[in-house]
Subunit: 179 residues, 2 copies
Amino acid sequence: MPVILGIDPGSVRTGYGVIETLAGGRSRYIASGFIRVEGQTLAERLNHVFNGVTQLIDMYHPQEAAIEQVFMARNADSALKLGQARGAAMVALAQKAIPVSEYATKKAKQAVVGSGRADKAQVQAMIQALFKLERTPQADAADALAIALCHAHTLSSLVRMGRVSRGTARGRWREGDLK
Amino acid sequence: MPVILGIDPGSVRTGYGVIETLAGGRSRYIASGFIRVEGQTLAERLNHVFNGVTQLIDMYHPQEAAIEQVFMARNADSALKLGQARGAAMVALAQKAIPVSEYATKKAKQAVVGSGRADKAQVQAMIQALFKLERTPQADAADALAIALCHAHTLSSLVRMGRVSRGTARGRWREGDLK
């Protein structure tokens, strides 16, 4: 069953979560954590995100990726910084030809907690319970796992609906417009 | 003398300009144009920018790159889109280990027209005159050439001041903070 890499991009930390979808709509935890966005210069920091995502792909061989969709950034300055980190992560996925689906944070929270208004602690606790993790995952890692899980649910409901054949769903839900 | 690649990132078109610095603070035009940001999905569009910049590097072998610095984006939505394109372009430069300097549009305009308030047409006309081009360059290409020229001026004044040895200026002016 497909391995899904969830990414929660950020300009300070970029969270990631890797899960595998199982039969019956269930999912298995593989890994999670975050890339600390380090570097003296902006180019170095963005390169660090790119290289980090590339390493994750080489390590876990995901067939699908899911990334947080940003609807409303706090302000133009933080939106620019978030956009840069998001661009670096998406290019790393695109370079490895991994289809990227985008999900609003609200939808990812709904998939995990059942409410789009859940706070970070609730997402962390629910992710820990769902995957039977020994420790509470770090907040960005938990968000990334929630995004991956949201994509797993979408894939599994499409499979049930008979809309996806041969376990692939390339070219769908890849919303977002750069124009 | 160093070849400089100037980049004016945008979510619809990413302009580029390639120049070579000559002795006596002069510069020679090599190439300019723009990458049309094409693709069905956001990931494909960003990948297109990344691949386009990578191709430019492979074609012109620049030793230095200069990119437009964004101080104030119009709004959060356009800042996010610009940030994504900017991130894709910067990662392409970083992957090839080309040092990236950032310049405010105002500074680039000053370097070319003499005024930070020059409009696009003035920049295009002045770029055409300075490099003795047969045709008026496209607006984004002209902006990218202006950014490259701004970096050439900075390099040449630092050389005059004896602050740069062996024609290299790595690790300086790479402003911007992803935090």
